[in-house]
Structures are given as C-alpha cells and as structure tokens.
C-alpha cells in the first residue's frame, strides 16, 4: 500500500515528457485514483474529505474578508460592520467564515470520535493520529484568534481570559503574557499580532494536513471491522468509489452548512459580540464558542488557577498518548463489548461537559463539572489501560470481504460492480 510505484501510464507525449521531469500526475493517480480503499467504509469515513473542503473554504473566505478588515483596535469593530453593510456580499462572506469555523469543528469532532470508536489511533497509525492532534491544536489556536478579530465584547474578554491562562505558569508566566499582549493589557498590539497569526496558522494547518494524508496513505485507512486489507477483494479503488462518496457527503454537509448561513447565521454566536469591546465591563455571562465549552468546563472545574490550566491542556494533550494508553489489540469497538459501552459513556460525558461549560460556575453545575472532568481523565488513564487486559473481545472476521458478504444478507448495500471486480478500475 505504501509503495507509490505508480500504475499510472501517461497517455500523451506531453504527459510522458512532463512525468519524466515531475511525476506529480503519477503521485495523484496512485494516491487518489488507484489507492485501495476498504470496501466496507461508512459515511463516517467521509469527514476527512469534508474537513479538507472546509479548510479550503475558510482560507478562501478569510482572504476575501482580509481585503476589507482593518486590524486596528479603534477600527476593527466598525470594519466588520462595514463588511456586513457596505461590501458586496460581505454579509455572505462573513457568515460563511464565522459559521464555517463551527462547521469545521462539528466535522472534526465527528472525525475524532470516529477514530476513537474504531481504534483508528492504534498501530500502525500512531503518527497519523498524533498529526491529527497537532492539527486540532492548531485549529483551536486559529479559531480563538479569529474570534478576537471583530473586537466585540466577547472578543476582548475571550482574549483576556485565554491569554491570562499563561499567567498561571510559575515564574515566566507574566513575561509570556506580556509578550502575547505587546503591552500591559489586551489592546491594539494584541489585535494586530492575532490578525497576523490568524492569517498564518491556516497555512500551517494545510502543511500538517499534507503530512496527515501522507501518513494515511502509507498505512492505509482503518475500517469498521478494524481488520486490515488482506487481499484485493477487500478493497475498491479510491476513484470512483471514495471520490463520489466524499463528494456526495460534502454536498449533504454543505446543505446543513447553508441552513445555518441563510436561516440562523447568528445562532452559534453570542449577542454580546455585537457590542464594541469595553475594557471596563465584562459581559455578565462570558462563555467561549460552543466548540471550546467542554475544555472550558474542565478549566472551571478545578478550584485552582494553575491546576485548572494544566487540566484543560492535559485534556487535549492526552489524546496524543492514546495509542499507548489503550492496551487492547482489537481496534474496532464493534468487537469490544465493554469498550463500546464505555465509549458511549465518554461521548455523553463530553457532551455534558459542553453543556456545563455554558452554565454559570455555581452550585450543582460546579459539582457536575468536577464529576465529568474526573471521568474524562479516568476514561483515558484507568479504563482504557485496564479494559484491554480484562475484556474478552468478540471473534474478529477473517476478512473485510467476509463481513461485507454476511452484511448483504441483512440488506446492507454495497456497489455490486465493486464486489464483482474490485481491481479492474485501478
């Protein structure tokens, strides 16, 4: 699977001439045309393509917005309103970009939970998984800095709270915060550098995405059984099967996206961010965007400043260690009766943390946040290591083909042509 010795045959004289100088057509052919894809993939495997599409869409709308946006503290808020009112289709570009960030995170969370359920992080895909965690961290940084740019109340106070997280670091914390701010508080220099970084980071994400896809094409894709491709009959060629499926899934996702843009463009935002930044007043309920809420709940659950910051950071970083924390050798939760239940408990805990992050930090909410935070870490540090030692997995199918053929009796649809001659298209 890893060899890129291409089956691509240049047809025209020009293609032959070009291929012998830069074999890029052969690379594309072996990666996205002839590449063998497990024939049992579900629509959960289309979110990678959706995410690449969303990254491209965010970069495109972002560059257009940057043509009108002014990264200066006294003009930023007005320039965003200028985009909304005066720029041709400015409202569309901004709503695409703002809601696009939310869609990006919806897709990435589905993509990540897919990986958790089917054990996609296990050998030999550890590096692939860690690159994904790095992309996730870069996404969080990019989304946070982008949210600061409109310079509304939530922008300003979000920037204040998040940059102050670094002040919890002993000794060097205050110096780091001052270097982030470029001043004694969040102000114009902060806005300026956040704009520069917000423009830079998506291209860094694009670079890591290339590595992520490269690593994927070395190990090949996981699949709902977790059993690797053993023969040509287990696979179908990427084109047309995965290509068409990815395009169809992306279009369905875009319909969902469009519904937000055209019907509830501000549903995922906060009304407070339509009030210009005011350093003298904090909004009554300061909450981050929905996609940060579970981590925000973990931050607030710990009754200690440094402890809260460490817990929040650890909640993300712990994902990178997942390949070694999960001791089970069976990948897919479909064959792990106990892990499957703990997986769903974990999903519920994450959703609960998200809900708790949106609530005021008092009374029962704090207690519930603490219980959920403890469970979050127990899941990774206790349940996953121990489960692999005690759980008896169900028998694995001997091949992907076997599950597909068995599934057919149950009515699961598979492309008939693929089953008949999977390798002829390549």
């Amino acid at each position: 699977m890893s060899d890129h010795a291409s089956t691509y045959v240049p047809k025209s004289a020009f293609a032959k001439w070009f291929e012998s100088r830069l074999p890029i057509a052969g690379l594309v052919h072996s990666s996205f045309v002839a590449f063998p894809v497990p024939r049992n993939l579900t629509y959960f495997w289309t979110f990678g393509a959706i995410l690449i599409f969303m990254l491209g869409a965010q970069i495109l709308t972002g560059i257009w917005l940057a043509m009108h946006y002014v990264p200066e503290a006294t003009k930023a808020f007005d320039s965003v309103e200028h985009i909304m009112r005066d720029v041709n289709y400015g409202w569309l570009l901004r709503y695409l970009h703002a809601n696009g960030a939310s869609m990006f995170f919806i897709a990435v969370y589905i993509h990540m939970f897919r990986g958790l359920y089917y054990g996609s992080y296990k050998a030999p895909r550890e590096v692939l998984w860690i690159l994904g965690v790095i992309i996730f961290l870069l996404m969080m940084a990019t989304a946070f800095m982008g949210y600061v740019l409109p310079w509304g109340q939530m922008s300003f106070w979000g920037a204040t709270v998040i940059t102050n997280l670094f002040s919890a670091i002993p000794i060097v914390g205050d110096v780091i915060v001052s270097l982030l701010w470029g001043g004694y508080s969040v102000g114009n220099p902060t806005l300026n550098r956040f704009f520069a970084l917000h423009y830079l980071l998506p291209f860094m994400i694009a670079g890591v995405v290339v590595l992520h896809v490269w690593a994927l094409h070395v190990t090949g894709q996981n699949n709902p059984t977790g059993v690797p491709i053993k023969s040509a009959k287990d696979a179908v060629p990427f084109t047309p099967y995965a290509t068409i499926k990815d395009v169809f899934a992306t279009i369905c996702f875009l319909i969902f996206f469009a519904w937000f843009i055209f019907y509830v463009p501000n549903y995922l935002g906060h009304a407070d961010n339509y009030i210009p930044a005011n350093p003298a007043v904090t909004p009554a309920h300061i909450v981050p965007e929905w996609y940060f809420l579970p981590f925000y709940a973990i931050l607030r659950a710990v009754p200690d400043k440094l402890g809260g910051v460490i817990a929040m950071g650890a909640a993300v970083v712990i994902l990178a260690f997942l390949p070694w924390l999960d001791t089970s050798r069976v990948r897919s939760a479909n064959y792990r009766p106990l892990y499957r239940q703990f997986f769903w408990v974990f999903v519920i805990v994450c959703v609960l943390l998200g809900w708790l992050g949106s609530k005021p930090p008092e009374g029962g909410y704090v207690i519930a946040s603490r219980v959920c935070t403890i469970w979050y870490f127990v899941h990774f540090l206790v349940i996953l290591p121990v489960l692999g030692l005690f759980e008896t997995p169900r028998p694995l199918p001997s091949s992907i083909l076997e599950t597909v053929l068995r599934g057919k009796k149950g009515g699961a649809g598979m492309p008939a042509g693929a089953a008949a001659a999977p390798s002829t298209k390549g």
Binding site: L180, P279, T282, P283, R300, K305
Partner: protein, 172 residues
C-alpha cells in the same frame, strides 16, 4: 569546531533576540503608561470609580464605615491570601481602597457590591472578593493587587508612582 559552534550559537541568538524583543511592549505603549492623577473629591462615600492606567482597569473605592469594619473584622489566618486590611490601604486613608480591577484568576472585571462579602464577585468563574479586595472563595489565587500609588494631597492620588513625588514632577 567548538569555536564555530559557539559563534553559530551567538549569531543565532543575535538573530532571534530582535524577533522576541519586538513582541514586547513598544516604546509608544511604554510612554503611554506614565502615571495618572485621580481627584478623589467628587467620589462620594460608598461610590466606586473606574480609572485606567497602562490600559489596565483600576477601582478607586470610597468605602463606607461598615465596609471598612467588615474588612478589618476578619481572622487573617483563615484567608487564602492572608493580608490585613491595613496592608491594603495607605495609613490615614482607610476609606480609600485602590486595587486593580481585573480578577487575578483570568482577568475578568468583578462586579462591585456582589457576593457573600459585598466586595466583588467575578461573573466569569465565580471568585468572591471582600471589601478589602481579598480573595475569599473561588479559583482566583491571590487578592486583587494594589497598583503603585501615592496620595499627592488628601483628595488626590497619583497612580503609577509609589514614592512621594517631587513638586516639579507633580506639576508636569
């Protein structure tokens, strides 16, 4: 070999330094951080005034006698960040509490006269401060810090300078 390596490290440091230094507060920002004067005359008892110094919010609170009493009648040892009220105001000016207006947790602005001690309550993460600006409950690690300031006269303070100002500087 070692000399080349050492020269390389020095050269690399010389290149990295300007980039890091350019992230620090610039000269204009530093210049704009000169001391500010606040006239206490119009601030009535029980009133709180918000002023800015170096872009940072500062509360100037004219405390009532009951607020002062509740700040003084505290078992110091029981506080998370033990400090007597006398250490948080200038001698002879006990009604005047001057503190930074950003919560020591993550920098939100606490709401005055709220919380169990009627000092401040932070809406972000639930820290509660008393009428001396001391942390009593919640995640904030320390009391609200006190900016450097000096009483120029009984009704005027200068924020940004700790020592007694020279007459010439006071008129500047």
């Amino acid at each position: 070999m070692i000399a080349t390596g050492a020269a390389g490290v020095v050269g690399l440091g010389a290149v990295v330094w300007p980039f890091v230094a350019a992230m620090a507060p610039d000269q204009q920002t530093i210049a704009a951080g000169a001391p500010v004067e606040v006239d206490l005359g119009p601030i009535a008892e029980g009133q709180l005034v918000k002023v800015f110094w170096r872009g940072k919010l500062i509360f100037v609170r004219h405390r009532t006698s009951s607020e002062i009493k509740s700040a003084e009648d505290v078992n110091i040892a029981s506080l998370p960040d033990p400090q007597p009220d006398s250490a948080r105001v200038k001698a002879g000016h006990t009604p005047w509490l001057v503190v930074y207006g950003n919560c020591t947790h993550l920098g939100c602005v606490p709401l005055a006269n709220e919380g169990a001690y009627k000092g401040w309550a932070c809406p972000c993460h639930g820290s509660i401060f008393d009428t001396s600006g001391r942390i009593r409950q919640g995640p904030a690690p320390t009391n609200l810090p006190i900016p450097p300031y000096t009483f120029v006269s009984d009704t005027k303070i200068r924020i940004g300078e700790e020592t007694k100002v020279a007459p010439a500087a006071a008129n500047a």
